[in-house]
Symmetry: C2
Subunit: 143 residues, 2 copies
DNA sequence: ACGTAAATGCATCAATGTTTCAAATACAGA
DNA sequence: TCTGTATTTGAAACATTGATGCATTTACGT
């Protein structure tokens, strides 16, 4: 009756994170959900058992280790999504555009659409880029 | 000894906002500063007299009326910058790129650089776009 | 199976922002 | 210029997000 060596246990090990119930649950939830989730969303989804502080710490270490990335939501609440497989502690490779639906409020990672490069004024050196669109998503289009 | 009919009084009137001390002060500060300021920054700059709650409300109405725009800082604090002259309550026209310096933490509006358009997957309809770069700014470049 | 470093759970604290309501004030109209 | 009224302000209370310190528990290398 040992725990099946599932995908998430492996992912945690690969990123030097210990295998705990909370971590497995959060990782599973974010991998399964097709849009970004806030800390509050995750708390709701995981049910009443979860400790808010532990969840914050989980999200923080996941972000540091390259398991998830924070979506540049321009509101006051952070939302998180699973990273592409090649992200690590040392470098994030989530160079895709994000899309926030003004109707359902969901934020999608558009992994197919990469962020275009712009020419900057002299002496500005860019290292990271974020591109956030807002509008109406696929699900919310009027017939 | 009447108040000189200055630029800010005019701007307020044009956007259907009453002429108050707080509003003049905030508008003047944001117009004069070459990078975006947080609510906290503004509080510091304006000195100990300012009421925090009134300031929040000032920023909120300025944003609604199209006098300032919120910069999509991916951290937990909102920063504000003066809008281009043609913004109004009904439409913002700040289609420029923003740049956050990882050294001095300042966020600049790069008004010269407009946001490139991307091709979205079917059925996604974009209405607004935000593009935030991070890196080293002009002032912080090593010699 | 053990020892230890890491993670958890809980209390406490801090920052940001909203709401409610009475008092003050800007400004349109007389 | 005076006056009435809708807007704005200032203060207290509240809500939410998140960090920190510390004792206890747990995961995992040996
Ligand atoms: Mn993403
Ligand atoms: Mn700007
Ligand atoms: Zn939608
Ligand atoms: Zn700088």
């Amino acid at each position: 009756m040992s725990t099946a060596p599932d995908r998430y246990v492996q992912l945690l090990a690969q990123h030097s994170l210990r295998n705990t119930a909370m971590r497995r649950a959060v990782l599973e939830l974010l991998s399964r959900t097709p849009f970004a989730l806030s800390s509050h969303d995750i708390e709701q989804e995981l049910g009443p058992g979860v400790d808010r502080i532990t969840l914050y710490r989980t999200l923080k270490s996941f972000e540091e280790k390259g398991l998830i990335h924070r979506v540049p939501e321009n509101s006051d609440v952070s939302k998180y999504a699973a990273c592409s497989i090649e992200c690590s502690q040392h470098a994030h490779f989530d160079n895709h555009v994000h899309f926030k639906c003004t109707n359902c409020q969901h934020v999608y990672c558009l992994n197919q659409v990469s962020i275009p490069v712009v020419t900057l004024p002299a002496k500005f050196e860019a290292i990271t880029r974020d591109y956030l669109l807002a509008g109406v998503c696929r699900e919310c289009q009027p017939a």
